[in-house]
């Protein structure tokens, strides 16, 4: 199935063409970039169409030797989880381009090239099954993102871009060390030196080594997610990035961290992950409550949404480390839901900023009366973000908490408090922005066709995920089962030892 390679190389070659030829007019570049990403979306949709949810594990695999002497392959694979995240990526990038249609005023060709390059990197991350290849894509999405923030961001963009780069590079270097460690250990044991994910799954690791290698991966992913003590790059990066950048960051980059946990951290190091799970869940619950509390007192709307992301991704970590059917399904679905919901929220803030020239909540108020459609859309996505049943986030959060409850009732209660807290800060945000008396007598236009299209698409997705998530959940059944099996295989030993009675 060479279509997987197409998913990566189409945006990459698009980026190169746009960057190298360079002399296109702005209008031409915009349409070209849109056409490329829409083609990408169509490819992803058709892959979804032909995908069989019952097929065992990986639906498509691409395997080509790359640097055989070091055991590096060009190995791509797509299972249900990858498929849904590829779909999310393919959906959000054209949206990011549409959002930037008028708001990016200089260097459209560079902007589009960087955006497409980021997309190629993210696609690669979600598809790569060779660890070095994965690492290459991991860094590939980072560099263009750095420039997107640094060149088109807001006032403190350089600081934010620098911080973003510093945090993520530190994490990914640790991951590189862990990858090499795993490579050599596996090579010594079996005599086969390879970075192939499937081969490495069967490496025998001693307890301590496993823990250190796991931590190497974990830190890289935890920075991206981001987990509590290493989250500080996120509010700055989200706030300072241009709207498209915020959408890519919140909608996709954060998901790569959670995806990494699911794809690599848990299956490669099940024993260490089991031991580590209580700590990870602890960090998750701190993230949930901490993010929710800090979001309450932000005055910058983008910053508020950024902190809410920390809170929501805490639920994802929660569900992942609960390590049961409900938790994993919930975490995976919440990744999709959060991607769509938060992207829409950032898009709306971008639209507001284009109109009223500020993101500061104290300077807003009463905006519902001049912009009823925008206000209605904001309400819809705000409700989704606070876990209203029937909208996207609810199903994910409910499943996560139902899963966590089976592990620890106390943690589930703390998570449920987080949902109440999300209602507190989100409604407060909505009230400060939309309700009350209009503070000035400007005439603001409501959503135009382009904006209605963007938000309409996202709204349909949010309703679909909320009202009929079964088609999505079907694809997650096998990936979740695979991860659970890696756990039960590990636990089998311990259970014999302890004879836990139910």
């Amino acid at each position: 199935m060479y279509w997987l390679s197409v998913l990566i190389f189409l945006p990459l070659s698009g980026a190169l063409i746009i960057a190298l030829t360079g002399r296109f007019s702005v209008i031409c570049v915009r349409w070209l970039a849109l056409a490329i990403t829409v083609t990408e979306l169509l490819i992803a949709l058709s892959l979804w169409w032909i995908a069989d949810s019952d097929s065992n594990g990986y639906m498509h695999i691409v395997q080509v030797p790359w640097i055989p002497i070091m055991g590096i392959q060009f190995l791509l694979g797509m299972d249900g989880l990858s498929l849904l995240l590829v779909l999310l990526t393919a959906l959000l990038v054209p949206i990011a381009i549409l959002v930037s249609w008028n708001s990016i005023r200089h260097n459209w060709s560079t902007f589009a090239a960087l955006l497409l390059a980021t997309q190629a990197g993210i696609m690669g991350v979600f598809l790569a099954l060779d660890l070095i290849l994965f690492y290459v894509f991991w860094e590939l999405m980072l560099v263009p993102m750095y420039f997107l923030i640094g060149l088109w961001g807001h006032e403190r963009r350089l600081y934010a871009a620098y911080k973003f780069f510093l945090f993520t590079v530190t994490g990914s270097l640790l991951m590189l060390v862990a990858i090499l460690g795993l490579y050599f250990i596996h090579g010594e044991q079996t005599g086969i030196y390879t970075f192939n994910y499937f081969e490495l799954l069967h490496t025998n690791l001693s307890g301590n080594t496993e823990m250190w290698l796991m931590l190497g991966f974990f830190v890289a992913f935890a920075v991206k997610i981001p987990l509590f003590p290493i989250h500080s790059w996120l509010p700055d990066a989200h706030t300072e990035a241009p709207t498209a950048g915020s959408i890519i960051l919140a909608g996709l980059l954060l998901k790569t961290g959670a995806y990494g946990l699911l794809r690599f951290c848990l299956p490669l190091f099940p024993g260490a992950s089991v031991d580590f799970a209580p700590f990870a869940m602890g960090l998750g619950v701190i993230g949930i409550l901490y993010g929710a509390l800090l979001a309450l007192v932000q005055e910058d709307m983008k910053r508020l949404i950024a902190y809410s992301s920390i809170s929501h991704l805490g639920f994802v970590v929660f569900g992942i480390y609960a390590w049961n059917q409900e938790g994993l399904h919930g975490a995976m679905l919440l990744m999709l839901a959060h991607g769509v919901t938060t992207s829409a929220l950032f898009a709306i803030v971008g639209m507001l900023e284009e109109r009223i020239g500020t993101r500061s909540l104290p300077r807003m108020g009463g905006l519902l009366s001049p912009m009823p459609r925008l206000g209605a859309m904001l309400l819809l996505f705000t409700l989704s973000a606070m876990g209203m049943p029937g909208l996207a986030n609810f199903v994910g959060e409910f499943l996560v908490l139902a899963g966590v409850y089976q592990v620890s009732a106390g943690l589930a209660i703390a998570g449920a408090i987080g949902i109440v807290a999300s209602a507190i800060y989100l409604l407060w945000m909505y009230q400060r922005a939309m309700l009350g008396e209009v503070s000035s007598d400007h005439v603001w236009s409501d959503l135009d066709h382009r904006e209605t299209l963007i938000l309409g698409l996202l709204a349909i997705t949010v309703l679909w995920l909320g009202l009929y998530p079964a088609p999505f959940l079907d694809y997650l059944q096998i990936p979740a089962t695979v991860i659970i099996e890696s756990n039960t295989a590990t636990l089998a030993g311990t259970e014999d030892a302890f004879r836990r009675s139910d």
């Binding site: 911080k163 500080s232 901490y290 509390l293 800090l294 309450l296 007192v297 932000q298 059917q325 409900e326 399904h329 009463g366 519902l368 009366s369 009823p372 209605a376 309400l379 409700l383 209203m388 049943p389 029937g390 199903v395 409910f398 499943l399 908490l401 139902a402 409850y405 089976q406 009732a409 589930a412 209660i413 449920a416 408090i417 949902i419 109440v420 209602a423 507190i424 409604l427 407060w428 009230q431 939309m434 309700l435 009350g436 008396e437 209009v438 009202l467 009929y468 998530p469 079964a470 959940l473 079907d474 059944q477």
Partner: protein, 645 residues
């Protein structure tokens, strides 16, 4: 009939969808008619189920599709219509329809009808989903949906920050209760791996022992959810503020239907409460306390709608009392009659406030006195029914039944005393309003007339407030007990005290409600003379709960958030800053010590050495033959001595 069940919540839901998507193309008036038609369809389907014998046959069921699929757990969007649900859908769709009709005229001046009817229809759909849901997850969906619509409609006139805040307060307060319910759902799911209501209740009864820890915990958590929605102590604070919404909304959501969702929830899951007798008794205790709380606070209000709000809190307390005593059918009975007379009172209040230029103060309303005669009489009927005026009102029968049943509960006489005191207070506060508003008026010349779309709902509700109670006569009376007999399949019968006691209790409460009317007259005379109740501020602020929560919860919560924000900036930024500083100073230290001190010095030393050697060596080549000869001979001596050695 099964396949039409979806139409009951489906019709208003579809209409809400049409209003949201295409509402811009319709005229205001057509929006109102569309929304009303949707409510009418829902009501007609309910009527049809009555006519086709749903009341006597097996429960109707319909499953639409699988909502979520995780492993073996597949909760569906599925409905079930048993007798309990039938009572609820009849009240919700019936009162809902009347209120839609009333709204056509009441809201006709408003420019934002699209939003109003969208949320009103959505509310109806949510409430109907709530009562028809066959599993707890779908019930929770309806539960949250009605909370959302309540939020949106309380803050309907959002330009005033006070109203917007009231909506937010309602949402968040009820959400604290919802959290408790959600945790209860997690617990049940963890135990039974399923959320289907019938399955859960069956298995819980079979597997759990009475008073077992799990049963107690589950019942407590569900009770938490019910308390939030039904505005019982201590989560009652949102309801008085909820009166910021339009009056028809207050009538529908905050009197007749949504606030009784908690009562429905407990009645639905009553086997769990029977497994936890302590919790069940707490339901009764909370109800009793709330009766007195609400009634006493209502006594001191000057805002017309706030009196009714506190009255609602108090009346829902009677339903909780009945639930706590195991008299589920009677709780439901009071729920129905309360829906009639309380929505009637709210609609009248709305009309009065509307025709008097948005004046809410009952003293001022009395002085203005622009009341259409119809409004006067219907209010009197509603007030009498609320006060439980003996024999001729519906409220008398339902409240009487609850009071009699409460006598046989544990600590029954105590509960009864409080509840009976509540009857007295109820009678006093509502007739205080009646005398102040309708009897204090200097009859003004022009009585405004009201249109028929407002008249009919008032008349129908007034009629129901009178005759609605005739389905269940008090214990020991030689007349039918159709209501509890009909619901016997669902619930067991309430326990009644011996006949002699029952008669005397009935007599005392009837007397109390009559005395209350007299007391009200005395009170109004004193108030008009300028006297006021003692402790009036304490009562008027609802026993100071708001201030308490402000200092105990809200303020600390915000302080914590601000503190974390400050430390976040200080700590993380500080650490980062320090790390950057450290890197910089390390770099400069390297420059000064390693670069300058070691490397440069050593290279300089090397160079100096070379320079020295060069100087010494070049000194040997000075061109003096004698020096050369000396050197050659010295060298020769050395070589010779080496060889000879």
């Amino acid at each position: 009939m099964n396949q039409f069940l979806w139409l009951i919540p489906g019709a208003p839901l579809l209409s809400a969808l049409i209003i949201a998507l295409l509402g811009g193309l319709l005229q205001r008036r057509h929006l109102a008619i569309l929304a009303t038609c949707a409510a009418a369809i829902a009501f007609l389907v309910v009527l049809l189920t009555w006519l086709t014998g749903a009341a006597t046959s097996q429960p109707l069921q319909q499953t639409l599709y699988t909502w979520i699929a995780v492993g073996n757990w597949r909760p569906t969007i599925g409905f079930i219509l048993d007798r309990l649900a039938l009572v609820m859908v009849s009240v919700v769709s019936g009162v809902g329809l009347l209120i839609h009709i009333y709204s056509i005229t009441f809201m006709s001046e408003d420019s934002d009808q699209r939003r109003y009817y969208f949320f009103l229809n959505l509310f109806l759909a949510g409430m109907l989903i709530l009562v028809l849901a066959d599993n707890l997850l779908l019930l929770y969906l309806g539960w949250e949906l009605v909370g959302l619509c309540s939020f949106a409609l309380i803050g309907f006139w959002y330009r005033e920050p006070m109203r917007a805040s009231a909506g937010r307060k309602a949402f968040i307060t009820t959400r604290i209760g919802d959290m408790s319910l959600a945790i209860g759902i997690f617990l049940l799911y963890n135990q039974f791996n399923d959320l289907s209501l019938s399955y859960l209740l069956e298995n819980a009864t079979a597997q759990w022992e009475t008073s077992s820890q799990l049963a107690t915990l589950t019942a407590l958590l569900i009770l938490g959810g019910a308390i939030g929605k039904s505005a019982q102590l201590p989560l009652q604070v949102w309801l008085p503020d909820a009166m910021a919404g339009p009056s028809p909304v207050s009538a529908l959501i905050h009197a007749a239907t949504m606030v009784t969702a908690g009562v429905y929830l407990i009645a639905r899951t009553y086997p769990l409460f029977e497994l936890a007798p302590h919790v069940q008794w707490s339901v009764a205790a909370i109800g009793t306390l709330t009766i007195v709380y609400g009634a006493s606070a209502a006594l001191a209000q000057n805002d017309f709608k706030r009196v009714l709000a506190y009255s609602t809190i108090s009346q829902v307390g009677y339903m909780f009392l009945a639930l706590g005593c195991g008299a589920y059918a009677l709780a439901l009975f009071h729920l129905v009659t309360h829906a009639f007379f309380k929505s009637l009172l709210f609609l009248v209040a709305g009309t009065v406030i509307h025709t008097n230029g948005n004046e809410h103060n009952i003293h001022n309303l009395g002085k203005l006195g622009n009341h259409p005669p119809l409004v006067h009489w219907t209010f009197l009927i509603g007030a009498a029914s609320l006060a439980g005026f003996p024999l001729i009102t519906a409220g008398f029968y339902s409240k009487e039944a609850i009071l009699t049943a409460s006598w046989s509960a544990p600590a029954g006489p105590l509960l009864w005393t409080f509840a009976a005191f509540g009857v007295l207070l109820t009678s006093v506060y509502i007739f205080r309003v009646y005398f102040l508003v309708f009897q204090g008026s200097r009859s003004s010349a022009s009585k405004p007339s009201i249109s028929s779309s407002m008249t009919w709902p008032l008349l129908i509700l007034a009629l129901l407030s009178l005759i609605g109670g005739l389905v269940e006569f008090p214990v020991g009376w030689p007349a039918s007990h159709q209501w509890s007999a009909w619901l016997e399949d669902e619930f067991r019968l309430a326990v009644h005290p011996p006949l002699g006691i029952a008669y005397s209790l009935q007599f005392i409460t009837s007397l109390l409600s009559l005395i209350g009317i007299g007391l009200a007259l005395v009170l109004v005379r004193r108030e008009q003379a300028g006297h006021s109740l003692t402790k009036i501020i304490f009562l008027r602020t609802g026993w100071g709960f708001d201030a308490l929560y402000q200092t105990m919860l809200i303020h600390p919560y915000f302080s914590l958030a601000r503190f974390l924000k400050a430390t976040d900036a200080l700590l993380v930024e500080g650490i980062l800053h320090k790390m950057t500083q450290a890197c910089l100073s390390l770099a400069s230290a390297c420059r000064s010590s390693v670069e300058h001190g070691v490397l440069d010095k050593s290279i300089n030393g090397l160079l100096a050495g070379f320079r020295f050697g060069y100087a010494r060596l070049s000194a040997t080549q000075n061109g003096l033959l004698s020096r050369y000869a000396l050197m050659i001979s010295t060298g020769a001596v050395f070589l010779l001595s080496y060889w000879l050695w």
